[in-house]
């Protein structure tokens, strides 16, 4: 029974993987990857990794793939090929993949690990359960666990910063200067480059007339107008 399940799941996983690279429309590639991930979850179950299998289905095949589908729908699937591949290059890439496969299989067949041919360690009812995994995460692997949460936070903030709307790239939102809390807290005339370029706003300490607005350094002031409307990466 286990053999049958293994072959079904392994075939599904490999077929899904081939589908990802063989299908031309990215949307179908994503769906193929979902099938691949579900088959892989079945393989994880056969290896008695219940929690990982559940996380794979819920987090990967659920949440991450929804993100993919959303972006594919947003960016809009198949792009026309702008410039054809150099003919030798594609063949070289396929050859490289085949070489990696052969190398890995050589490593597998020539391994000195005797247990690779066995069925694995003796049965232990607690193996792979959420309780045991959670205990390992909170005792032995506490630091990697906390680092992983920090990494997720950084990635979430980074994605928001990368994909948000910016001034300059979206014209309808170009509504002048952004006002920050810092502007109210700091004394006038201390620091921003904008003040250095276009002169101070009405400040008592500045003698009127000595530095009229916008005329202090005209060569920079002229350039600053353009620069303000560039969105940065």
């Amino acid at each position: 029974m286990a053999e049958l399940l293994f072959f079904v799941a392994a075939t599904g996983a490999i077929a899904g993987a081939i589908g990802v690279i063989a299908l031309q429309n990215p949307f179908y590639s994503v769906l193929s990857l979902v099938g691949h991930l579900l088959s892989l979850a079945a393989l994880f179950l056969l290896l008695r990794a219940e929690f990982i299998a559940a996380a794979q289905v819920v987090v990967y095949a659920g949440a991450v793939m929804v993100l993919y589908v959303f972006v594919v729908a947003y960016v809009g699937g198949a792009e026309p090929q702008i410039r054809p591949f150099a003919p030798g290059l594609r063949r070289l890439s396929v050859l490289f993949g085949a070489v990696i496969l052969i190398e890995l299989w050589i490593a597998l067949l020539g391994t000195g690990l005797k247990a690779v041919d066995g069925e694995g360690a003796p049965f232990d009812p607690a193996f792979g359960t959420p309780a045991q995994l959670g205990e390992a995460l909170l005792t032995k692997f506490l630091l990697p666990f906390e680092l992983a949460s920090l990494l997720l936070l950084v990635a979430a903030v980074g994605a928001v910063v990368l994909a948000r709307r910016r001034r300059g790239t979206d014209l309808e939102h170009d509504d002048g200067d952004a006002v920050s809390v810092i502007d109210a807290l700091r004394p006038a005339g201390t620091g921003t480059m904008k003040e250095g370029v276009s002169g101070l706003p009405d400040v008592g300490g500045e003698p009127p007339g000595s530095h009229p607005k916008g005329t202090t350094r005209p060569e920079i002031a002229a350039g600053a107008g353009d620069r303000e409307h560039e969105g940065g990466w």
Binding site: A17, L47, A49, L67, Y68, V71, G97, T169
Partner: protein, 99 residues
Amino acid sequence: MSIGWYLAVSAFIFAIGAGGVLVKRNPLVILLCLELMLNAANLALIAFSRMHGSDDGQVFALIVMVVAACEVTVGLGIIVAMYRRRLPVDVDELRELHG
């Protein structure tokens, strides 16, 4: 089933993913192929965890899944930013950095 079979499947999936990263030009599909490679590594980790009867490999696999999720988030953010700036969504066209 012996552990070796799982490792063979894992090697196969990894090779498919590596070939796909090299062949494909759409960054979305390249990210999908990266997922394939990470999942192949996960399968190997879990197979070895089963072989030794220890949970460590499964914790590794969990961390790999976290890293994969982060990579997807940032990668898709970059793709959306490319699309917003009307750059071609094609890795071979983005060649400003090498002059």
